[in-house]
């Protein structure tokens, strides 16, 4: 078996040459992304750099104009989001989107209706326990605090037993202690074998969490590597801090 075949079998998400425009605005200009099984990948970039557009394309919420997206070796470029979810791709949203009008438990039963085994209730309760929401199981989703809403988003994503989790700004608006709590959950999920893509503006969190970081700017990948290497990259510093940062 050649090295390239060995590498291919370990890639769980592969995006190649993804382009997406909204009218005259080119949000993505040929972006490549690779995520290996069990890897923690951070995606950073200033507002408007194309981070959310990229993960919307990977999750299937948006269809790319050009390029290809593969999930576990299968071309999913034209598959709708629910088919990708069943193939093991889960995501959370930048602004939490709980299923209002439903209890916390019912929120988890929704994905389990399609991917759960015979004991869906047991599965849902186990996931709620893993994120510390089991005591809130019968409360309406709209009664949760910001931290609990973030946990609910994670729990709902996990209920589908994903192989890949995309966490889109899962720590936005949280206090330092709450960020630590969410990070612990994400580390634990990763240890259980779930590969995670983290899109985040909270730099210390994404630097601490990620094994590898990709930096986007105006729809292009401008840097990629270990957190330390990307943080030290002069191009990244210029994007974040302006021209003076290089002097």
């Amino acid at each position: 078996m050649t090295d390239s075949i060995v590498t291919m079998t370990h890639i769980i998400v592969a995006a190649r040459g993804v382009e997406k425009s909204f009218g005259a605005v080119k949000a993505l200009r040929g972006v490549d992304l690779t995520l290996r099984e069990g890897e923690r990948l951070g995606i950073i970039g200033p507002n408007g750099s194309g981070k959310t557009t990229l993960i919307d394309c990977i999750a299937g919420v948006l269809g790319p104009d050009r390029g290809e997206i593969r999930l576990a070796g299968r071309d999913v470029t034209r598959l709708p989001p629910h088919r990708r979810a069943r193939l093991g791709l889960a995501r959370t949203f930048q602004i939490p989107q709980p299923f209002k009008g439903m209890t916390v438990l019912e929120n988890l039963l929704v994905p389990l209706d399609y991917s759960g085994g015979p004991d869906r209730l047991g599965q849902a309760l186990a996931v709620l326990r893993s994120v510390g929401l089991d005591r809130r199981r019968d409360d309406p989703a709209e009664a949760l605090s910001q931290l609990e809403l973030r946990k609910l988003e994670l729990a709902r994503a996990l209920a589908g037993s994903p192989r890949v989790l995309i966490a889109d700004e899962a720590m936005a608006g949280l206090s330092e202690a709450e960020i630590d709590e969410v990070l612990k959950i994400l580390f634990r999920l990763n240890e259980s074998g779930i590969a995670i893509i983290m899109i985040e503006h909270i730099m210390h969190a994404v630097m601490r969490f990620s094994e590898r970081i990709q930096c986007l700017e105006t729809g292009r990948v401008i840097a990629e590597g270990t957190p330390a290497a990307v943080a030290a990259d002069p191009v990244v510093q210029r994007v974040y801090f302006g021209e003076q940062a290089r002097r």
């Binding site: 989001p81 629910h82 979810a85 989107q97 019912e106 929704v110 994905p111 209706d113 399609y114």
Partner: protein
Amino acid sequence: MRPAAAFGIAALVVAAGLLAPKLPVNTYYFYAGYVVLQFVAVATAWNVLGGYGGYINFGAAAFFGAGAYAAAGLFKAFGLPLPLQIMAAAGVGVALGAAMGYLTLRVQGVYFAIATLSLVVVLETLVHNVEYLGGARGLAILAPPAPAWFGGRTQFAFFVMLAVAAASVLAAWLIENSWIGRGLRAIRASESAAECAGVPTLKLKILACAVSGGLLAAAGAPYPYYASYIEPGTAFSLTVGLNAIAMPLIGGTRSWAGPVMGAVLLGTLQQVATVTISSELNVLLVGLALIAFVAAAPNGLLSLPRRPRSKDAIRHD
């Protein structure tokens, strides 16, 4: 409640309806009761897509009218008995709902609402131009007499509509308490989050549209028998479309009980107003009731017990 219990309650309601004709009351109560039950069925049917799924269908009258004309046409052509007319009309409603859903449910919000509204105009214009169905003049129905047990056609029509309403409410209950209902409520809350959670949103919406259409058509099917006459203006009436939306909104859209409560309340009020004041007052009553409920109970009657106490009430504790 288990499904078997729900089936049992529905069967009991229908069984009680069998005894209703033996009550020593004026036939008019059956005549008015039919209309109230018809709106229970209509409101419940509308709520399957509009309430659970959050897709506002302004075209309830199109399905209702299609059901009524399908029944009338089948009776004229083959002399089908009423139960078969209702089943066939429901089939027409399911097909119409699935077709409309397939064509329009890819778009969200106001575009879907406009598409449903246009369906009423399309079908009404179509019927206007079909001579076999009486065209603009309408069609008189010389239906056979009712079974002897019921004592008259009005009582029989009342019983049939009670059975249709009970079947509609049972279907809504089954949907509400299943993966279909959960998926629809997820769609209502956030369609993109539902889709990313694995819910096949388009398929579920088409299914809900087909079921809703079938139940609406079933609610319209007994109308030609009940009224002995059908014409496009009544079958595709604004009153049906308006009540189909207003009644669930007044009662509450999140549960099967909401449309039932809204229909009984508003339907009864309309019947009383028709007798005591004027039938023209009906639409005004719907409008006034909607304004009152939007102000006092925007989530419907069902939400009232759960509303938080006012600041005054807390202060006086």
